[in-house]
Structure formats: C-alpha cells, structure tokens
Amino acid sequence: MDDQRMIRSFLAEAPPSAEVIAEGRRRVLAQAKPRPRPRGTTFRLGLGGLGVATAAAATAVALTVSGGSPASRTMPTTQLTAQQVLLAAAQKAASEPVGRYWHSHVIDGQAYHVAKGDYVITGARHEIDQWIARTDGDDDVFRSRFAGAIPQTSADRAAWQRAGSPSTWRVLSNGQYIAQTATPDKWDLVRTTPAQRKGYEKMLARARKECAAKPRICPAAQQITQAQREALPKDPSALRAYLLSPGGKGGPSAALTNAAHFLAKPGSPKLRAAVFRTLAGMQGIRNKGRTTDVRGRTATALAARSSDARGTFDVELLLRPGTYQVLGTETVLVSGRGAETQGMKPGTVFTQELFLEMGWANTAPR
C-alpha cells in the first residue's frame, strides 16, 4: 500500500459544490476581504471526516472522474437518477398556477472558434421575448433582436482581450465564412391585437386545409395547434412519438430538444407534467448532476449523447435545482470532428437555447 495514496484517500472530502465555486468567484472578483469569523466554534466535531463527505456529496456536484490521473476521485453520491428528477419536475409542473400571459424569453446561440487568438465566441445570439395572451381579450407582444456575439467562458474572454478585444469576427458556419459582431441590434417590438390574431389564425387554418388536400406543397414539419397539443396527454404514445420526432425516430437527445421546444410554448400544467413524465419513461437520458450554464446559472443537467458530422455532443436539458423550472438546452461538445468544431475544447457549449423567462405572468409591456 502506497502511504501517500492512503493519506490522500483518508483525508479526501467531496469536491466543492457549484454554489461554493460560484460564491468564491464572486467574492474574489469583488475583491472582498476575507470574512473574519470565529473559527473553531462552528466546527462540528462529531461529523468530521467521511461522514460529512458522504452527506455532502449528496448535495454537492456529482463528480465522477474516471481513472487516469492519480488525483482523480470517485466520490460516493446519492444523486437522483434522471428519471427521479423528471418525475419530480412533472409533479412540480402539475401544480403551477396559470396567468394572463405566457411569458417566454429565449436566447439562442452557437459557438464559433476564432483562430486568431484561439478562443471561442458565442454568436448568432437571437433573442425573442414574448407575451402570449391566454384569452382572446389581450394583445400578444413580441420583441426580438440579435444580441451581440460574446466570448464564451472567462478563459475565452481573457484570450479575446489578449487578441486586442476585436468587435467583429469572420467565422466558419456551414462551410462558409460569416461575419459576427459584438454590437447588439435594437429590439423591435410587434404587438398583435386579438383581431389581428384572429385573422392570422384563419390564415393558418386555411393553409392547413390546403395541406391536407395537397401534402406535397406543405412544409415537412407541420406545427400542431394548441388544441392538438392539449389533447396529447390523453394519448401517451402519441406524446412520446411527438417528442421522438421526426417521425418518432429521434433518439433521447432529440427528445430532450423537442421537450424544451414543447415546454417553451404555453400549455396547461397537466400538459407540461405529461411531457416530463414521458421523458422519465425514456431510455438513454442520464443525470449529469449540477452544472453552470453559459449565463452562470446553476442547473441540473439531464443529458443524452448524440453524434453528427461535426462531432459527439451531450444534449443537456437544464432544470433549476429544486424548482425544476426549465432553463433551456445546451449542446456540449464531447469530441469534435470536422471544420466547424475545429479548435474547440471538450466542454464547449456548441449550441444553446436558453430560457431567461418561461412561465405564466399577469402583466405584459404596454
């Protein structure tokens, strides 16, 4: 037995939780003084050592590092399974009160590697902030803009600064170079009155009718109506097939993305609960534990692997710990392939669709 290794494991404690890391970062960057505190009075003697480590690991980040480096540790965890998290989310969703508007504020984005300076920016950050009236009496309000591109992590920001803090970039996207700028667009705002909405809905209904007659002229992905959505919980296999679209053939990673899209639309608490329950019944979704999204929010990540020509990714559905509020999805790079992920490190958030607001509200902007 190696005595050094024995000492290491004897003294080992669970790794710091995401909250501890975030709080420390905040204190350090605020250059706060070390807090004076009466050391020695708060130490819980009877709980020293591994008892604490085991208990703490239950609430801490579940860090599972596989072999290799001798420093790596596998801490005991009593982390919930993805299924348990989803069932808890379903229960929570079923009891949410509805309001006058469905308020949805979503920001999309994609990672681009900048060769000059070797860092990653999040670009194509399209932002939609909308209030959808629940009844026919209220206006819908729709705001959108392109938010500017930004370096993705603090390390990327540092590299960007070393490169002279450029505010425009030429990056590779779908085989060609496109421009990205740090300057955000102005918001544009569109208000839809109940009368206008009625006209729009009529137009959609007519389009659907024409589609039924001549399927060929229709877009491949037909949007289903609100009424059709609300009927889905009555038919679990239909909801499951819908989440596994296209055509019920998508895998668990497609289901996570589709579920996030689905949950971003107004729906009854019953419908939202049914979506979580359906995900809970699927294979291939795992709980990755606590993570921090690109906006610094703490989240529980439910993940499924997916691969395409650009690499292997973990598609992650992010839920706020405790409330199970959906924070959006991130597609995290596991290993890259091809030009578009070239230069990106594992862990880069390749695409993101983050929910800044998502839920019922009683007021909308005038």
């Binding site: 290491r8 004897f10 709080e23 970062r25 204190r27 807090r35």
Partner: protein, 181 residues
C-alpha cells in the same frame, strides 16, 4: 503541468483572474478541505484567491507557474488554523465503520478502517512538525512535485526531499512495517 503560466499583465484583468480561479479553485479547495474539513474550506480556498489577487505584484512569473504560488498562500492560511486541523485529525481517528459507496478510494479508506489504522494514521499526521506535514500533504494530497513544493513553501529542493522522507518514515512506522510500499 497543470499550472499554466499566466503572463503578466494579462492576469491583471478580472477576466483573466476568473480563468485562473476556475482552473485552480477545485484543487485548492480539495487541499484545504483535506486539512481543515469542508466547514471552513470554502472560505479559506476563496481567501487564497482574494489574497492572490491583492498580492498580484508579489507573483513573479520568472519563479514559476501560478499553481505552487497559490498552494503556498493556501498553506500559510491553513497554518493560521492549527487548532482546527488538530481537531479534524482527532475526529478522523474516531470514525465509525459505516459503509460507504464502493469506489476505489473508499475501498482504500475502508481498508484503513478495517485494519483499525485510522487512529494511528490520524495521530501520526497530527504529531508531525508543521514543516514536515506541509510538505507531506502537498505531496500526498495535492500531488505537487518536489520542485513545486519548494516554490510553494520557499524552501530548497533538498529540504523538500529530506522533510518528505522523514514525514513518510514516521507515518509508515506508525502504521507498522507490514504496510510499506
């Protein structure tokens, strides 16, 4: 090498410092938690970086990478909490034989417990002179090299070697000869 050289003056900017924090905080935390326990580890690990940021001028990139410098600050902070550290070793000596998950590290810990060695190991660690314990734990817990430890503690390479071998000898003899190697 884990500790990348963060060149001045880039690291003067808060973002560069945040990157340094993100890279090194978990390791510093592990080190402090191993010596003082989780109750105070979050504060002291963060204090390490607060001091590092304030003493930025004191960091000399010529002397080596950032990592040992941070461990040096952490070790000086740990030294201010000697009573804490001693209490932790006493508490660890009394650990009950409760079952823990079956990871490799835990099998090692269980073995230490099954053999009834934890009081001896804890006592041996507590009995070490501080200088020897600093070297031993930087090496055993955080796996710093001799060179890194010499930078962290501001002692010569030779002193690192002699303190480490003395400390290991004491621990091994406390555990009994049959547990060597």
């Amino acid at each position: 090498m884990k500790g990348a050289r963060i060149a001045e003056p880039a690291a003067r900017t808060p973002d560069a410092f945040a990157a340094l924090y993100d890279e090194h905080f978990p390791a510093i935390y592990d080190y402090v938690a191993s010596r003082l326990g989780r109750d105070v580890a979050d504060d002291i690990a963060a204090d390490t970086f607060v001091i590092a940021l304030r003493k930025h001028g004191g960091y000399d990139p010529e002397k080596g990478p950032v990592r040992p410098w941070l461990f040096g600050i952490a070790t000086r902070l740990v030294a201010q909490h000697r009573r804490h550290e001693m209490r932790r070793y006493r508490a660890l000596a009394k650990l009950g034989p409760e079952e823990v998950a079956d990871s490799h590290e835990n099998r090692v810990v269980n073995w230490v417990r099954a053999e009834g060695l934890q009081p001896r190991l804890a006592k041996a660690l507590a009995a070490l002179p501080r200088g020897q314990r600093d070297v031993l734990l930087l090496s055993a817990v955080s796996e710093l090299s001799h060179e890194e430890i010499s930078v962290a503690l501001g002692i010569s390479y030779g002193t690192v070697g002699s303190r480490l071998s003395r400390a290991r000898k004491k621990v091994r003899s406390a555990l009994g000869e049959d547990n060597d190697g």
